[in-house]
Amino acid sequence: MNGMPAKIHTGVPGLDKMLHGGLVPARPYILSGPPGAGKTIMSVQFLREGLEGGERCLYVALEEPPNELKLNMRPFRWNLDDMEVLDANSDVRRFEPTPILEISTEEEPARMRDLDDRIRKTPDFESREVTVHSLQQLLKNLFVKRQYQRVVIDSVTALKYFCMREFEESLTTQSFMRFLTEAKVTSLLTVELPEEGEAPPEAFLARGEIRLHKFRDDTGIRRFISVEKYKGSSHDDVVYPFDITATGAVVQSGPSKGVAASL
């Protein structure tokens, strides 16, 4: 492990232990899971950890309007005032021939504390569209201007579904990840998994994948977490249970928690 930079903390209690210390910085990682597993909560926790250490953090919102994110995170009482949020949600499409603006490369992220309480409305005469190319250009400009240490892309699934054409999906996703690697930020990309069946291909492109699992039994919803892949580091193989508590996601990675707690 010579020459390997010090690992950074994920901000999720118990997860760093599974990752044998945390994440190797300046690389992209995947956080995958079915709907309602807790991906967004965990990724915001990752940024919050950075904020606490005085790092500059960016959240790219692709599936949820920023005003809702702000409300949704309020119950956890985290100080997210300085977290920067980039609204990359596309507008309502126009069916009439009106000018379509690609998301401007001059667009600025807003600080969490300055976010509007209501949703941004599609203007009457133009419609904003987010494509993967424009987003990439925009991020490139931003990364030159400011040194972000941590970036969250929520979610790659939305990027894939709404911001690129179907035939170019895997190639474009790959190049987007390559772009994030070259930008030398530690990034966490969320991926939506179907409730049943196999994982989509983008899950295999990153340096590491943390996967969330969600099941039902008589006691309600049970959540589990596993490290599927982690290049350049050893990690824990066991699948551990985790809970979403009043203070965020907490992984129970105690010594005998693995299998015994799974039934």
């Binding site: 709907p35 309502v92 949703i119 699934t157 709404f162 049943e196 039902r216 919803i221 015994a260």
Partner: protein, 360 residues
């Protein structure tokens, strides 16, 4: 924050008080599970609070909605209904096909009396675009006239909209745009949709801020119903499956009761008989492997690696990957037996002998 009541007390209790306002939610479930009733009950609750409510019907003509909901004795007179059911297709080509959007048809429920007859000269065709246009016209028209916004909207159903009006287009982007449109209206919206293939990610489920799932299965000779919350952004919720009944007064959710599953194994209701037997078999193997792990830990025999493969087997099991689960569980079990030094007992009749090769 203030919550929007669904009109079903038990469901509101599960939702920790109700839905968060101004967001779109999904109501899913198989046919006959009570989705439309729940959605209508949600609108009725709004009407009781004097809130303007809009039902966009794509499945059933308004007259059928009226008579179907009549049995519950709800006063829906002031419910606005937007009739977006497509006409009988005119098969002769010279007849012009026009979008529904240009023939706005929003009525009070009390004025609904007969099915709209397809016009002789033009046939209405429903597209996402036209539905969006109709809702927008109605929304801004109402805002202008009465200075009131629609507080509650129901789209019944998205399945119909997808099936009939998105052929040959990029449906993901169309749905994304439609969901964005609904979000910008800032009404609390219920979207009725069926999730047919759980191994695919359906756009509206992915973008909805929550999913209320309705379940229906046959238990012996009775039909049973239940309800669960699968996702609810920004709020705590009750994560149990709760029993549900359709009564003469509408839907009732028993938020303090458990669903009695037939096999007691904590599996999802509605499994077929064969599947249940496989499930039983695998759980037996898993259980015996677990006991052996405990035993090994007590005797301080290192079995960490097997614990890992066992947890993988359980994941396969939970994901309904029964073949992989069985294989992994059996492999684990036999390995554990070796380490514990016990003589393998003769295999049970329903369980094939453990394979010699160890997967993973």
């Amino acid at each position: 924050m203030e919550r929007v009541k669904t009109g079903v007390d038990g469901l509101d209790a599960m939702l920790n008080g109700g839905l968060l306002p101004a967001r779109p939610y999904i109501v899913s479930g198989p046919t006959g599970s009570g989705k439309s009733i729940l959605a209508t009950q949600f609108l009725f609750d709004g009407l009781k609070r004097n809130e303007p409510c809009l039902l966009v019907t794509l499945d059933e003509p308004p007259i059928e909605v009226k008579s179907n909901m009549g049995v519950f004795g709800w006063n829906l007179d002031h419910l606005k209904i937007l009739d977006a059911t497509p006409d009988v297709r005119a098969h002769k080509r010279q007849r012009s096909v026009i979008d529904v959007g240009t023939a706005l048809d929003v009525r009070d429920m009390e004025d609904v009396s007969d099915i709209r007859q397809s016009s002789q000269i033009r046939a209405l065709e429903v597209t996402v675009h036209s539905v969006q246009k109709m809702i927008k016209q109605e929304f801004s028209g109402r805002l202008e006239k009465t200075k009131e916004r629609y507080k509650r909207i129901v789209i019944d159903s998205m399945t119909a909209l997808k099936m009939f009006s998105m052929q040959g287009e990029d449906s993901r982007i169309l749905i994304q745009s439609f969901m964005r449109f609904l979000s910008e209206l800032e009404s609390t919206t219920l979207i009725v949709s069926e999730h047919l293939d759980r191994s695919a990610i359906e756009t509206e489920f992915f973008l909805g801020r929550g999913e209320i799932r309705m379940l229906k299965w046959v238990d012996g000779s009775t039909v049973r119903r239940a309800i669960s919350i699968e996702k609810f952004r920004g709020s705590r919720f009750d994560d149990h499956v709760r029993p549900l009944a359709i009564t003469p007064a509408g839907i009732v959710v028993y938020a303090d009761q458990q669903v009695a599953t037939t096999n007691g194994g904590g599996m999802k209701p509605g499994e077929s008989l064969l599947e249940m037997r496989i499930i039983d078999d695998i759980s037996n193997v898993l259980e015996s492997a677990l006991h052996k792990v405990e035993e090994a830990q007590r005797r301080q025999i290192p079995v960490r690696d097997l614990e890992v493969s066992l947890s993988r087997a359980m994941l396969h099991f939970q994901r309904k990957n029964y073949q992989k689960a069985m294989k992994a569980a059996l492999a684990c079990n036999s390995q554990l037996e070796q380490r514990l030094g016990v003589v393998p007992p003769p295999p049970a009749a329903s369980v094939p002998p453990p394979p010699k090769e160890v997967a993973r």
